[in-house]
């Protein structure tokens, strides 16, 4: 399965809905999307990973890169994920401490630091 990406705006947040597999082949597409959003002035991103079937370290690298970019503009990058197999990858790499991870898009959109 390939990667699917769609974006929508909710208030001052931009929600990026990701589906399919994020791996060494597809991660560059996600990177391009995040870079494009930040270049267009969207600095508060919510990445909805509920429809992601697979995530590897290349995908993690892209998300960390996205976080660095939005932080340069005092922005935020929040994740939405309830899938245990995906959450596990964030845990073993210690990235649960780096990303705010929410259980729903509504919660992520409403969240403030």
């Amino acid at each position: 399965m390939d990667l699917s990406l769609s974006t929508r705006t909710v208030g001052d947040r931009t929600v990026v809905e990701v589906g399919g597999e994020i791996d060494v082949y597809t991660a560059p597409k996600l990177r391009e999307q995040l870079v494009e959003l930040v270049n267009d002035g969207s600095y508060h991103l919510v990445v909805d990973m509920e429809r992601v079937d697979f995530l590897d370290s290349t995908g993690l690298g892209v998300l960390v890169g996205g976080l660095k970019r939005v932080r340069a503009h005092e922005g935020s990058l929040r994740l939405v994920c309830n899938q245990e197999r995906i959450l596990k990858i964030f845990r073993i790499t210690g990235l649960t401490k780096v990303f705010p991870i929410h259980t729903s898009v509504e919660e992520a959109v409403a969240a403030t630091d």
């Binding site: 597999e21 791996d23 060494v24 082949y25 697979f54 590897d56 370290s57 290349t58 993690l60 690298g61 960390v64 890169g65 197999r85 990858i89 073993i92 790499t93």
Partner: protein, 145 residues
């Protein structure tokens, strides 16, 4: 001899194929369903790393994956062509500074994921190239048809 041997051109689009094949062979070998996700992720990480190494060292030979079914364990060996004295290729020097430093970080993160996931893992580099060897216990007999 390996139960299944896979060789693929060092291109990112083939890593998914390696994941699918490894998971299928692991399932047949009797690796617990709950662990198959880990097998899939670990072999994907090892293959992504090998593809990255072949690309950065301009190596045209394929990435090698051995899937080995033993009596009590299932092993995967992912071999790359970067030997311990290959050095760093200058071919891509300066072409994409940011992309390269990202790639290095991902390589380290890949190994971090593998060591976090797999209890029995060994990373070696020799004359013939690098090798990541991983294994998982199997529930033999019980799962055989």
């Amino acid at each position: 001899m390996a139960t299944v041997e896979l060789r693929f051109s060092a291109l990112p689009e083939h890593v998914r194929t390696a994941r699918l094949v490894a998971a299928a062979v692991a399932r047949r070998a009797g690796v617990d369903e709950a662990v198959l996700d880990e097998v899939r992720l670990a072999v994907g990480e090892a293959c992504s790393r090998a593809v990255g190494l072949h690309e950065s060292h301009d190596i045209t030979s394929p990435v090698r994956v051995l899937l080995i079914e033993d009596e009590k364990k299932f092993s995967i060996e992912v071999g790359d062509g970067v030997s311990d004295h290959s050095g760093t290729s200058g071919a891509h020097g300066g072409a994409e500074g940011t992309a390269e430093s990202d790639a290095e970080g991902e390589d380290e993160m890949g190994l971090a994921v593998i060591s976090g996931l797999v209890d029995d893992v060994e990373v070696t580099t020799g004359e013939d190239g690098g090798l990541i060897r991983m294994s998982w216990p199997t529930a033999t007999a019980a799962t055989l048809p």
